[in-house]
């Protein structure tokens, strides 16, 4: 099935959404963007909560614009769940389901059999969202929209439900739009990611492509690519172009860049660090020296900021605790920084 948005636009006072073009096939499209970027507006337009000023929304060739909410065959899981508070969990699901067997089946899938007789206000955050999801799935929608269903959950429950959603989504053969402001959730759940900014589509593509090859500085920052340095292309060769950043030449694996002024983008998790006087001098290429100016323990990884000859901003590397401990890093430690050619992404410099 296919959901096709074309030239969709909507203005609310100061905020202008669109024009927006997007094609969503079966599978999960994560819609990622900061708050106020228009993610929820996008879902409201598709669901029919809001009518667009112009443009079209086609579901399998059927135009949805102008049709009321209830005739669109679009399932929506609202941010806060929107369970009917005067009905039990079972009654909420039965409200949408055609048979009692369907209610039981969904309850089994979502592991909520034990809480079906409870009232929404006494459900935990995770239970609440499971019931909300079951209720929406009960109508067998042709498209599934989810508006940050995990955002109010505590970390361990959020991770568990996220993993379960991942499996559930794989079993559904419909287009799924999953709105989130969290890049980890977007990459974990999305087969593809659409980045939204100020009501416009900034980039759309496979999850790994968006994270590894951001099209713009905005996307780069939003996907955690904090290391952005201006440079220039100095040579095209078979392995890829060579660029100069400051006084350092970097060999890259990229070939398709036309411009000469570029921005080099290196994800902190792809920066490799070694002790300053490492014995293996083989890998001279793409190696620079840095001094640790600050480090932060994020629990499962360390963020290390290093001053280099590139000046400001500092270069950040994220490493796992065993690496950090092995290198006995502290402020002032000198390190050798190695950037594999395949870890360097080049963006046209908008300067």
């Amino acid at each position: 099935m296919t959901l096709n948005l074309s030239d969709l636009s909507k203005t609310y006072g100061q905020f202008k959404f669109g024009p927006f073009d997007l094609r969503v096939e079966d599978g999960v499209l994560a819609v990622l963007g900061p708050s106020g970027s228009g993610k929820t507006t996008l879902l409201s337009l598709i669901a029919g909560i809001t009518e667009p000023d112009s443009g079209s929304i086609c579901l399998n060739g059927r135009e949805l614009v102008g049709h009321p909410l209830e005739n669109r065959d679009v399932g929506m899981v609202f941010q806060e769940g929107a369970l009917f508070p005067h009905m039990t969990a079972r009654e909420n699901i039965a409200y949408a389901a055609t048979t009692a067997a369907r209610v039981d089946g969904l309850a089994a899938t979502l592991e909520i059999e034990d809480i079906l007789n409870r009232s929404p206000p006494v459900l935990s955050g995770g239970e609440y969202q499971r019931v909300a999801l079951a209720r929406t799935l009960a109508t067998d929608p042709a498209v599934l929209l989810l508006d940050e269903p995990l955002s109010s959950l505590d970390t361990p429950i959020r991770r568990r439900l996220r993993d379960e959603l991942h499996s559930l989504f794989e079993s559904l053969d419909i287009p799924i739009l999953y709105v989130t402001h969290d890049q980890r959730t977007a990459t974990a759940l999305g087969d593809r990611i659409a980045i939204v900014r100020d009501g416009m589509l900034e980039q759309v593509g496979d999850s790994s492509t968006v994270v590894e090859q951001p099209a713009t500085e905005f996307v780069a920052r939003f996907t955690g690519n904090e290391n952005l340095f201006e440079g220039s292309v100095i040579e095209h060769s078979e392995q890829g172009v060579t660029v100069r950043v400051g006084d350092v030449e970097l060999q890259t694996a990229t070939s398709n860049i036309g411009q000469s002024d570029i921005t080099v983008c290196i994800h902190p998790s792809r920066v490799e660090i070694k002790p300053s006087r490492a014995p293996d001098d083989e890998q001279i290429i793409n190696t620079i020296t840095g001094t640790v100016t600050r480090w932060l323990n994020e629990g499962s990884e360390y963020q290390i900021e290093m001053a280099t000859s590139w000046g400001s901003p500092a270069l950040t590397a994220s490493v796992h605790p065993p690496v950090f401990e092995r290198l006995t890093i502290d402020t002032g430690t000198e390190l050798q920084i190695m950037i594999p050619p395949s870890s360097i992404h080049l963006m046209p410099n908008r300067g």
Partner: protein
Amino acid sequence: AGFGWLSVTLLFGGVLLAYYIVPVGSLFLSVPPTEVLGRMNSPIIVDAAKTSVLSASISTLIATVFGLPLAYWLARADGAAQTAVLGIVVLPLVLPPVVGGIVLLTVFGSSSPLGEAAIAAGFPLTRSLAGVILAQTFVASPFLVVTAKVAFERVAQTLEYASRSLGKSRWHTARRVTIPLAVPGIVAGVTLTFARAIGEFGATMMLAYYPRTMPVQIWVSFIELGLENAYPVAILLVGIAGVTLLVIN
């Protein structure tokens, strides 16, 4: 400083509360309960009570039927149109009831075209039960609209969107989601409207001095027979007000 704040509230607020509650209590102390009960059977009181309960019930029904859709629209709309309509709804609330009576007389009075036609048809709109209902509806129905509006506003619109996105129509959504959730507030509004209608005096005095409602009867008893003769009906109305308070909370 915390003590100072609480003292002021206790002192000033206490004076005001006493001003509300002491006179009401004083009424009950003024007459022996047995005497009041004895006088409740008087045909004048029974007639007034019948007229009041019947007229207030009809006025409340009219207010509910015509007011609920308007209240719902006011709860969901916004912008200049909503503000203007809300202003019109609030107008009878800020208008003195006697003035309400005057303006109704300009339309329904015996010398107005409509009033004359009604009299000719044998259905007079003043000095009749119809007049009482016209007066009560004008004064009391805005309470229903305003209270039900708040009740509908408290039902998150997301719940209606959720119901409709599950394929249910607006009517189904209203019946199964919106109205059940708004019911406590609507009941409070209906009760308030009934209380306001049954207590209506100013507009009723203008439109329908006869048949006598309880408030008019209190006035007549007071003027013709003295204060103590107004007590029984007054106590009945205090009782109704008390029940109203219980329902609202």
